[in-house]
Amino acid sequence: MLRYIVKRLVWLIPVLIGVTFLAFLLLHLIPGDPAQVILGERATPEQLEQLREDLGLNDPFLVQYARFLGRVLSGDLGRSIHTHEQIAVELMERFPATLELALAAMFVATVVGVTAGVIAAVRPHSWFDHLSMTGALIGVSMPIFWLGLLVIWAFSVQLGWLPPSGRLSHGIQLETITGLHLVDSVLTANWPAFWDSLAHLLLPAVVLGTIPMAIIARMTRASMLEVLEQDYIRTARAKGLRRGAIIVRHALKNAFLPVLTVMGLQFGALLSGAVLTETIFSWPGIGRYVVNAILARDIPVVQGSILFIATLFVLINLVTDLLYKAIDPRIRLE
């Protein structure tokens, strides 16, 4: 197992170098003069020269890449052209919001997806099976930005039950510890902030969780159907175990492995896929930060964010893979 982990970690190096190179290339693939593109048509020659100097565009290509890599390795992602703030600092400020949303979405997706998948598998071809699998098929085809607008219309505009945007209402104070509002409010026993954060989180989490929920439901059903046909399930039944115990302790435990892989992959995608959800719900996370940077042609921010998210994505996929192998002894033995 240790050898495998080391092998995978070593393998990460070329992939991450490739990722940094692609992120670096971003600035150089822009057609025309990047300084002109960033500053626009009205920039004076002095301003252009200054920016070229700041971005190091006057140096040879490989020198620029080596310097970029050196900076990135020391945790410096450069400064935003518009706010002049450290990009790494801005990213870390926004990351907890994205993480909280992704975790909440994953929670909703797992609870609903696994439950629906199990019930559908236990009663195949029942009305519930047909209904939930049709729902899952619609779920994977869902334009979530549209779903977002519809739930805002229904639950915020029409019913007035939940807030349409943001993370916290005006006037509610919350001390930042982890940056995850739900956790911080529990840690400080600030219950008004807890309920307010939860109310803000609910709609975006459900919307963002829709597609993974559908995928998890389909995966759980397929995996459960396969496991339920195994001999050890028949043995468990023959022993006279209760149906519930067979389903949860014998079947689900074994059927969960492929579901876990899907969850890991989906979680990585959620962290980045939050772009659309964050835009609709004005959620102050990384996704919205990137989109605003692109629209403002703030290329260093785009570069830094992409590098950050891609690295995170690679690491999550690695952890999923390791977890998968750690849980399943058959794979570990190979």
Binding site: L26, I138, F145, L149, W153, L276, V291, L295
Partner: protein, 307 residues
């Protein structure tokens, strides 16, 4: 190993393939069986029906649409709810939503075909070369694919649009590039399986060139998984392109693109929900259509997978 068993040539693998290389698109046994299985599947037929509707809208939008999707803006009739005159209501500029959706079908189909065309051609080439030649070529190509896969797909598309500038063509290119790894991987694993078959040895024995073996003998036998992936990818491409347009990174006003219609409807949907309801429904149905057909094709082409 591929999920799919390669569908053998019209000629049995024990018979050397003739130099002319028959293509499996001819109504040969396995394909005819697959077609009949496809038509027996209710979900696949539902998908086909939705896609027929989409195709009709795309082809005959000029005839079917009661108004011009861009120029018939009636400012006195802004944000009208659905009525006999405007079946799906009007948007904030007083344009007929039904007409815009019909014309949007054409754009969506174009997006699907162009971007998946890019992924299909480049991904198939890379995967085929990688799987066929193996060794260093395989290693280099697959590492490049790994790096592409290190980027979450929507983010990579966004990055590419950031480079090329926001417009619909660039969004299609971006989505096309993002889809390359899936095709490359699927084609590579199919090629790996097929290249070990006897008819490939036979073709090699009669002196066929690598290119000929790869493109005339191996690839035609990898068509089944490629076909399924293409169908599913078109749906995803349409969904992603709508997402990019919604973010302002794809289609630009006044194009009647569905994602852009949702973006434009954002300012008015609180009081006029129909401006977003119908374009979104059009996206959902279209993507659903491709997914249903893709699932059906998968079951039809590989009966072992069907429970």
């Amino acid at each position: 190993m591929s999920m799919f068993a390669p569908i053998p040539h019209a000629h049995d693998s024990r018979t050397p393939a003739p130099a002319s290389g028959p293509t499996p698109t001819r109504a040969s046994g396995p394909w005819r069986d697959a077609a009949s299985r496809l038509l027996r599947s209710k979900t696949a037929c539902a998908g086909l029906a939705i896609l027929a509707l989409l195709l009709t809208a795309a082809l005959f939008a000029d005839v079917l649409a009661p108004y011009d999707p861009v120029h018939d803006a009636d400012l006195y009739n802004r944000l009208q709810p659905p009525s006999a005159e405007h079946w799906l209501g009007t948007d904030a500029q007083g344009r007929d939503i039904f007409s815009r959706i019909l014309h949007g079908a054409r754009i969506s189909l174009e997006i699907g075909l162009v971007s998946v065309g890019i992924s299909l051609i480049l991904g198939t080439l890379l995967g085929a070369v990688s799987g066929y030649f193996g060794g260093t070529v395989d290693l280099v190509i697959m590492r490049l694919i790994d790096i592409l896969l290190a980027f979450p797909s929507i983010l990579l598309a966004i990055a590419i649009v950031a480079i090329l500038g926001p417009d619909l063509i660039n969004a299609m290119i971006a989505i096309g590039i993002v889809g390359i790894p899936q095709f490359a991987r699927i084609v590579r694993s199919s090629v790996l399986a097929v290249k070990e078959m006897e008819f490939v040895d036979a073709a090699r024995a009669i002196g066929a060139s690598d290119a000929r073996i790869l493109f005339r003998h191996i690839l035609p036998n990898c068509l089944a998984p490629i076909l399924v992936q293409t169908t599913l990818s078109i749906g995803t491409a349409i969904l992603d392109a709508a997402g990019l347009s919604f973010l302002g990174l794809g289609a630009q006003p006044p194009q009647p693109e569905w994602g852009l219609m949702l973006k434009e409807g954002q300012s008015a949907f609180q009081t006029a929900v129909w401006v977003v309801t119908f374009p979104g429904l059009a996206i959902l149905l279209t993507v659903l259509g491709f997914n249903l057909l893709g699932d059906g094709l998968r079951d039809a082409l590989d009966p072992r997978l069907k429970r």
